[in-house]
Amino acid sequence: MSRLVAVFSEESSLLAAVRGARAMPDHRAAIVDVYTPYAVHGLDEAMGLPGTRLPWVTLAGGLCGMAGAIALQVWCAVLDWPLDVGGKPHQSALAFLPITFEATILLGGLATAGAFFWRSRLSPLAEPRPVAAGVTDDAMALVLKLDGAGPDERTALHDLLLAAGAREVREEDR
């Protein structure tokens, strides 16, 4: 895959370049990804990324935690070994609430974090492939797909990126 890497030092130039690339006619210059040292405000909109579905994972995890906690408590305290504690009913639904609440939070949070790591392919053994020096420090990089772009288009893209304020533009094959 042949691609174009542009490096910026200002988030305003990066945003301008992203907007410019997306406004290019016939969309040959698809954005592969953008690499930044911090969460740049407004980049989601500029790139037009679809929203993440992580909140659904939270909901599912939370519901599992809730159902699991209710099931465990009812099964233990009502079905398996009912104990008379101070004459309270075996099915003390209100007293089961705190643990149910905590389990909802716990599983909701862990499921979301797990889904995030899995979806973003982050793990202790993942090998980082820095796209340009300093993208975890003070540089920002925009990576465009070049496959199928003619020489004219390449020049136009180069010009666009430099005009937006890129400090370095290079083509690479990988």
């Binding site: 911090y38 969460a39 405000h41 465990l72 233990c76 905590e102 995030f116 980082p128």
Partner: protein, 460 residues
């Protein structure tokens, strides 16, 4: 009108550092040799930890009778320390989660260290119920697991079991939040460690950074993850101290049996936590040379929250007194009369002075922006909040319904040792943290600094 825009919306970082400078300023202490001040603090902290470890070892080997709990005050020092440490942790979650939801930008440079404080404080807190069990190696009995005793299950109606679940959940979620928040910074440190002598550093941060490469698709999900974790941690932190307060409120002992306890405890927890954050940050910003990122204005903002929560605590004290008088329950009345005038009156008035009266000084901007006064006040808040738990527990227990079992409680040297040891553990962990990990969230500060720079450009 907007000529003074920087006054209306001032920057939370002093002197407009570049992105590279932020990385350098935060990472420098991690590779530099520790200062003399750090070594001095570390020596004191590890000595305290050693004393605590020795005391705890003696207690476990001999039995909890080595504490002054053989008569009437069955909780001795232990639960006072437990509630104190749990409370300390709450400020970290407030800063990292609740202020995130409220989009308070000033949280960025203090959130990392406040979260670390939460984790270490919860570790200290967990130690005390464990030691109170007498046979800590059976601590796992508190969890519901299939066993050969029936299986006999734990009593899910007991607030003590709620406590275990709440605190383990709190620890887990806080830890995940803290760790996830550090991943981009680990990647920064990994990429900085390019020299030949940095092989181990590169390896360790390489593992910890999970292969983070700054991809925006990851950032986008990452922001959502932070938001969700903050949204989950917010009700969680409120629930944790509410449940801790139910350890008391569901009991019938005079002075405990009140519905005021959950909000009163949560306010007190945040109050004490901010006391501790102020103490720690006033010291570390000096020792680590981070005054540019943890500014006077941060201290000012934290002082305001301390004032707010301190006033809530003071209001709760008055409400308690009023209800003891107005409720018409003679036992309740006697308990509060005993608190204010009995043998522990000195503890009660220490608590009132440190928590309700002295923080009122923070109404003055001069006090809020004076580092020495703020430091002394923050220490007094810690003292006052420790005494609050002592007053609640000991004064209620030492004279309950049966005058024949009334007793005066005195801690033994072993209990004092374990309390000192918990401070040792806390500070040892914190001192190692500021040496080994980035104590300011670089990526968050960069975001705030960049946003401020752009706001400045727009107004200029």
């Amino acid at each position: 009108m907007i000529a003074d825009a920087h006054l209306l919306r001032p920057s939370w970082v002093e002197g407009k550092p570049t992105l590279r400078q932020i990385t350098d300023d935060v990472s420098r202490p991690l590779t530099a040799r520790p200062t003399l001040g750090w070594w001095a603090c570390f020596a004191v902290a590890s000595l305290a930890l050693a004393w605590g470890a020795a005391s705890a070892t003696y207690e476990v080997a001999t039995g909890i009778g080595t504490w002054g709990l053989n008569k009437t005050v069955g909780w001795a020092f232990d639960i006072t320390n437990f509630v104190f440490w749990i409370g300390i942790g709450h400020a970290g979650t407030l800063i990292s989660a609740i202020l995130l939801l409220f989009r308070q930008k000033w949280r960025t440079s203090i959130s990392r260290s406040a979260e670390a404080m939460t984790i270490f404080a919860v570790m200290c807190a967990g130690l005390f119920p464990l030691l109170h069990m007498g046979r800590p190696w059976f601590g796992f009995w508190i969890f519901p697991y299939p066993n050969t005793r029936g299986p006999l299950w734990v009593n899910f109606r007991s607030p003590l079991v709620w406590d275990v679940v709440a605190i383990s959940t709190y620890f887990t979620i806080s830890f995940v939040f803290w760790f996830v928040g550090m991943i981009p910074d680990f990647a920064t440190l990994r990429d900085r460690a390019a020299g030949r002598g940095d092989r181990w550093r590169r390896k360790v941060f390489g593992l910890l950074s999970f292969g983070w490469d700054g991809s925006w698709r990851t950032w986008s999900r990452y922001e959502m993850l932070s938001l969700i974790l903050a949204g989950l941690a917010t009700p969680l932190v409120l629930s944790v101290h509410s449940i801790v307060s139910m350890d008391f409120a569901t009991g019938l002992v005079p002075g405990w049996h009140t519905t005021l306890f959950p909000p009163y405890f949560v306010a007190g927890a945040i109050f004490s936590g901010f006391g501790m954050v102020l103490t720690l940050l006033i010291l570390t910003r000096k020792v680590m040379g981070l005054e540019r990122y943890i500014t006077i204005r941060h201290l000012d903002a934290m002082a305001k929250i301390t004032l707010l929560t301190g006033s809530m605590v003071g209001f709760a004290y008055l409400t308690e007194l009023f209800l003891a008088w107005f409720g018409g329950n003679p036992f309740e009345r006697a308990a509060f009369w005993n608190r204010a005038t009995g043998p522990f009156a000195w503890a009660y008035w220490t608590m009132v002075t440190c928590n309700a009266i002295l923080p009122q000084l923070l109404w003055s901007r001069r006090v809020r922006t004076s580092v020495p006064i703020l430091f002394v006040l923050s220490l007094l808040v810690n003292v006052g909040m420790w005494f609050e738990r002592f007053v609640i527990i000991v004064t209620s227990l030492h004279r309950d319904f049966l005058p024949s079992s009334w007793w005066f409680y005195k801690p033994t040297i072993i209990e004092v040792g374990i309390l000192v040891g918990s401070f040792g553990l806390f500070f040892t962990c914190f001192l190692l943290f500021i040496r080994a990990l980035p104590m300011v969230a670089m990526w968050e500060v960069k975001g705030v600094a960049a946003a401020a720079a752009h706001a400045g450009e727009a107004h200029a």
